[in-house]
Subunit: 333 residues, 2 copies
DNA sequence: TTGTATGCGTTATCAG
DNA sequence: CTGATAACGCATACAA
């Protein structure tokens, strides 16, 4: 079997207690024996058993990360950033894809807590039903729960968000300054993030007294095809718009392509500032929601909450979005 | 503290052994007591402690997944597929991003095995140096190691690959049939996959006696900008090519865009058949390397190797690539 | 079918 | 500074 602290204790003529002490770095051990023990640990190729360690400490330094779909470029980027940050603090990441939010996703929470993860980070809105949120809240009583781009306003939960409402609002202002009088808004879902973006859009429209026609706000699936289809349909129906704003880059890509096919050259702004925006022709402007900042903040919270006593950590951390202008922004309506 | 089998044993007036038995489903327990125990487990909200369980079974049903970068759309998709498949068999996924292959990535292997994962799946080529591979081989003596799109030809390692060589070869044939006499090939790295694609390209060129000029094979970074730059440079240098083939969709996107900017309308074929190919205008043809099949096969291997005795599992599983034709393929040189 | 007793590898609490 | 020894929660060989 594997080699244990008993083996190296015996080899060093000490008790397992002292071995355990040098293992945990802490406590008082004579420099001489510590060095000796460390050496023989290397020599014998000793590796502490994580399960036994977990039993004693009730922790295996694992963080559960939950999102609806890592295949989505945005979540993938977030997971990548979180993984990198957490690894630097010797945490491992256990990934959980819920798929679309069915309202009965609490099993993913249960699964993760059953593994006794040290904390949970959610990205986006994997949970929206009352039941799921209640479950998440219950978990939060035991371990830190950090939500990126969500805010359940529950005790013991920490929220890290980008102010996308303000971002969308400023995007509308930017378009207006270009001379656009009517802006089409395409969105996919009313998640926390989705709702705020829509609110920001509406606020911008209202403030500037732009065309507030209901037809200029359309909800569609998060796919290229859906975006192209809706543009085709609106143009066929003679709906007039002088710019397009979307809740997601992929929608902007499809919308711009369809519009161009109809000869409509107009400013298009996506959201998330993913590589998709750069793949389109012309390249798409996009609202950057500062994912790197969000993830870094989440990692910091984890560290604070698990390694220190986490007395004074912010319940809510907020960043500003930033409009990244590209070719699509040069287009005049 | 948490509630244990002792608690429910006491509540049911049985020994912890019987409780443990119903927990493991196995063994012979009277249907009556089993039902009773199961009920009180529910009532008391009992959750088995994974660390204790791990100590006894030396397994926590966790699979380590390693790739260079989940932020990359291709790896992200793979991770998503693996996670879904493994979850259905009650495995959790522990993610490891190595970043670029530095040749000294074995620490990621060590980290993962230190957590006693049940198996390791690598995607792409996170390890290429002698030392790293040796380390991986050593791990393979203990747990199953499955490599997707790599083949180290080591004992106890299982390889799942797509025959991209043949795929690239057939792509060249398809272009030739369109009348192209000279094909530009752009690639980013000579990973296992990268090498085979290049080999397939070369073979196709040779077979059909197409233009085999060295200038028609270019290695560049895996970025849009790099692809655009090389096209600009080649055209400036009067290098003649009638079609473009790339090792990665993102390169195809950039290359097509740059070519179009110069007024060159020609067939462009990417690889991986990611959403990037569909975001380009015109939409890009792409060599689909059947990631879903690869991942499903990997999951199957894991199940066979961990749950059965895994006596007769294939050491190498191979799928064929498929050329997906889109608008970019209609373009005539 | 059920119970007893021991092992799994660490951590932590006592004494010395 | 160091050594016994008791948890930690569960699995299991051996008895009954």
């Amino acid at each position: 079997m594997n080699i244990t602290i008993y083996d190296i204790a015996q080899q060093c003529n000490v008790s397992i207690a002292t071995v355990s002490r040098v293992l945990n770095g802490s406590s008082r051990v004579s420099e001489k024996t510590r060095a000796f023990i460390l050496q023989t640990m290397k020599d014998m190729g000793y590796k502490p058993n994580p399960f036994a360690r977990g039993l004693g400490l009730d922790s295996m330094k694992i963080i559960g990360v939950i999102c609806t779909d890592v295949a989505d470029i945005f979540y993938a980027h977030a997971v990548s950033l979180l993984e990198d940050g957490l690894r630097q603090h010797h945490f491992d990441v256990m990934l959980s894809n819920t798929g679309t939010d069915t309202g009965r996703n609490s099993k993913y929470i249960t699964d993760l807590t059953a593994k006794h993860v040290d904390a949970i980070i959610t990205i986006g809105t994997p949970f929206s039903s009352e039941a799921d949120i209640r479950q998440l809240q219950k978990v939060a009583e035991t371990i830190p729960v950090i939500t990126i781009n969500s805010d359940y306003h529950q005790p013991n939960m920490y929220s890290v968000v980008c102010n996308e409402k303000e971002g969308m609002r400023s995007a509308v202002h930017a378009l207006a300054k270009k001379g656009c009088q009517s802006v089409l808004y395409l969105y996919d879902a009313l998640t926390y993030s989705g709702r705020h973006k829509l609110d920001g859009f509406r606020e911008g429209i209202r403030e500037l007294k732009l065309d507030a026609s209901a037809k200029l706000i359309q909800q569609i699936p998060r796919t290229l095809a859906a975006a192209e289809a809706i543009i085709d349909r609106l143009i066929a129906a003679d709906v007039h718009f002088e710019a397009i704003l979307t809740s997601e880059d992929v929608l902007a890509v499809g919308a711009q392509r369809a519009a161009l096919r109809h000869g409509h050259v107009l400013p298009v702004i996506g959201c998330n500032n993913s590589i998709l925006a750069q793949c389109a022709t012309p390249t798409l402007s996009s609202l950057d929601n500062k994912l790197a900042n969000l993830c870094a903040a989440a990692v910091n919270l984890i560290i604070q909450l698990t390694e220190t006593d986490g007395a004074a950590v912010p319940v809510r951390t907020e960043f500003n979005a930033e409009l990244v202008e590209r070719e699509s922004f040069q287009s005049r309506p």
